[in-house]
Amino acid sequence: MLVVENLSKTYEDGTRALRNVSFEVKDGEFLVIIGLSGSGKSTLLRCINRLIEPTEGRILWDGEDVTAADSAHLREIRRKIGMIFQHFNLVKRSSVLKNVLAGRLGYTNPIWSIINRFPTEDIELAYEALRQVGIEEKADKRADELSGGQQQRVGIARALVQDPKMILADEPVASLDPVLAHSILGYLEKMNQERKITVLCSLHYLDLVQKYATSVIGLRDGQVVYRGTREDIRRMTDREFKDIYGEEAERVSAGTLTGGRENG
């Protein structure tokens, strides 16, 4: 269980990106965070694994105080939290395999990993993860030779090899077209359902939210302005969605969903 208590973040330039945010996420949930661009979604997700240091508040995960952890302890916590990014954040010039293996860095002997040596089991794990996202044959390609959808699957594989208990996904499909969006979210849903991995994911599209979320929180100006269960969302209309999310919110048109398949 993840408990966020009175979390606030004020950036050095004075921007108050989060104000007194509190919520709980039960194990195995698929929590979707919605909100306008600039409402604080990325900041919130990054505060949970402390890529960004919160200014105030507490984060408890499985009873451990993440906010109070020292750097060694923090690394231990981080390695159990996979993270997926809108722009994939792969090391573009490294091979796909090396990118996936990076997910094992928290587990490996720092000295060996520096000179690029990973235990055979880790390499096995990496191939297995690539198999699960269906791009095993791309292992030796350079990451930037892959298409956007493939790159995000590498991102998922990198999170998978961490053997995570929780995944933070910051707009994982915002740079992909709708068909790919479902494919990517499908992998997250599978991990959520089969492995009981908790997922925290920020999303843009109402129909994606409706299809995948088991609960939702809405942010505006760094504050939680909406909390809803699966059922609440299913009943939500475009009008209500736009009230929270703003006018720029869109629905992925149904036509494109049944249309093509992702190539490659």
């Binding site: 690394r75 981080r78 390695r79 090391v91 010039r93």
Partner: protein
């Protein structure tokens, strides 16, 4: 209406008068200050330059008037053109002031065209432009040019074999003049007649009094080939014989025999060598043996070219070595943390910019004074410049690093060091390699230039050949420089293409 018009004309004439007294003054008064200042400074500087050129042309004359006459005599076209131009500008400038007052800004004409024309005439004279000379003397440039363009005759040589024979001559004549040398069958052989005589002498007026004429008979030389004649004095000095300024050369007949008359040369003997002395005449024949040897210029060029390439390489390596740590200090994204680091950032940047803006040629001049002539001076010069140039490029590469992967790797629970190795280094290697290779390329090219001021390498050799007017040898060096640069260009482009 008529009154304002009259007033206007009056003001226009007044401004024109001002401009006539001091060019540009009228324009300044009527408010066109820029135009006025430009006109004024142009005319003043034209006048000063003109006076300087007149003084220079007539610098041996006692006063300016004589100097003017002299320069008019020497350069009538130049002097009169400039005077006409100056007067025209002066008058037009007054007219300009008049029209500008009368008709406002739009009125008038472009006086500045004339200003540029006069400056062009001055420039033509100052820079000693002379198309006539360029065309008439063109043939003189052809020989060196053709030698530089096709220098390979000097690159290799045919091995020469020298055959010779000598005969003794007594001077002055006395008892027991030497006889004919012994003849060895089949070997080149000469004898002289007579075997004694008087050397040439100088009279009181340093006029030559010719000595005895000798006849040299030769046989068993290579047929139909040139024979040179040498004189060997009793001290052992050898010199080629000249007769009235020309070298004495003869040719053998089809049997390998020759016969030639020579005048005994003038030789200044040390006082200790007074008295009767035995001199020798020697006939020498040089013939190619067919074997080919590589000439010194080619050998030297190759060795210096290698030296140059290594100079470039060493300078690049030193440059990389120092530039990497410095580049971290010069990367804004790493140094914007606190005011202390930011100060270091600005200081590093400033120093890098200063060092970079000083040409390697200047560094070479300093280094030559510092460590003496030679490749080491060149390496120092190139290294300084490389550190600054690479430091800047590297720091820019660091600044443009994508923070995404860093964040992603941190999120996996990696340590600091792991994050650097997995997210930072892979992003830095390609630009680092690319910049470094490119730098090597530049350094090799620059080290040829640096050689010119004594920094070692092929440039040093080239400048020596040019000073000796040895155009073929210089041509060989130029060819090798061009070939190496082209090759390096290709290689570095190829490596960079693969890495980026």
């Amino acid at each position: 209406m008529a009154e304002t018009k009259g007033k206007n004309t009056g003001r226009s004439l007044l401004h024109a008068l001002f401009s006539l007294i001091l060019p540009g003054l009228g324009q300044i008064i009527l408010g066109e200050i820029q135009r006025g200042i430009i006109l004024m400074s142009s005319i003043v500087s034209m006048g000063l330059i003109f006076i300087w050129r007149i003084e220079l042309a007539g610098r041996h004359e006692p006063n300016f008037l004589d100097a003017f006459h002299k320069s008019l005599e020497l350069k009538p076209v130049f002097i009169s053109l400039v005077i006409i131009g100056l007067i025209a500008i002066w008058i037009l400038n007054a007219l300009d002031a008049y029209l500008h007052t009368k008709k406002g800004r739009r009125g008038g004409f472009n006086i500045f065209f004339l200003v540029i024309v006069v400056f062009f005439i001055l420039g033509w004279e100052i820079s000693e432009i002379n198309p006539y000379k360029m065309i008439t003397k063109a043939p003189e440039a052809l020989t060196p040019l053709s030698r530089v363009l096709w220098p390979w005759k000097a690159a290799i040589a045919h091995k020469m074999e020298t055959v010779s024979a000598r005969a003794a001559v007594l001077s002055p004549c006395g008892e027991n003049p030497p006889g004919r040398p012994k003849e060895v069958p089949g070997k080149p052989y000469i004898y002289v007649e007579p075997t004694c005589g008087e050397l040439s002498k100088l009279d009181k007026n340093n006029k030559i009094i010719e000595g005895t004429t000798l006849t040299v008979f030769g046989k068993n030389f290579k047929p139909n080939s040139e024979v040179n004649l040498w004189w060997i004095d009793p001290i052992g000095n050898e010199f080629r014989l000249r007769q009235r300024g020309e070298y004495v050369v003869t040719k053998t007949d089809s049997q390998g025999n020759f016969k030639i008359k020579i005048i005994m040369p003038y030789r200044l003997m040390p006082p200790s060598a007074e008295g009767k002395q035995i001199h020798h005449v020697e006939a020498r024949q040089q013939t190619p043996t067919g074997a080919v040897v590589i000439n010194d210029p080619l050998k030297l060029t190759i060795s210096r070219m290698i030296e140059t390439i290594f100079m470039g390489m060493m300078a690049t390596i030193f440059g990389i070595f120092f530039a990497i740590p410095i580049s971290f200090l010069a990367a804004r994204n790493l140094m914007s943390g606190s005011w202390i680091t930011l100060t270091i950032y600005y200081m590093t940047r400033t120093v890098l910019n200063i060092v970079r803006s000083i040409e390697p040629l200047i560094w070479a001049l300093i280094a030559v004074v510092w460590v003496g002539l030679g490749p080491f001076a060149g390496i120092i010069a190139l290294s300084f410049h490389s550190v600054a140039a690479l430091g800047k490029l590297y720091s820019e590469a660091i600044e443009s690093i994508d923070p995404g992967p860093i964040e992603a790797i941190q999120a996996t629970g990696a340590t600091h060091l792991q994050t650097i190795m997995y997210a930072v280094v892979p992003q830095m290697i390609p630009p680092f390699v690319s910049f470094s290779i490119y730098r090597w390329d530049i350094n090799v090219r620059m080290s040829t230039v640096i050689g010119l001021v004594g920094g070692g390498g092929i440039g040093f050799l080239l400048v020596q050949y040019i000073r000796l007017l040895d155009y073929r040898a210089a041509g060989i060096a130029v060819w090798f420089i061009a070939l190496t640069v082209a090759m390096l260009d290709y290689v570095s482009a190829e490596i960079r293409r693969r890495f980026v």
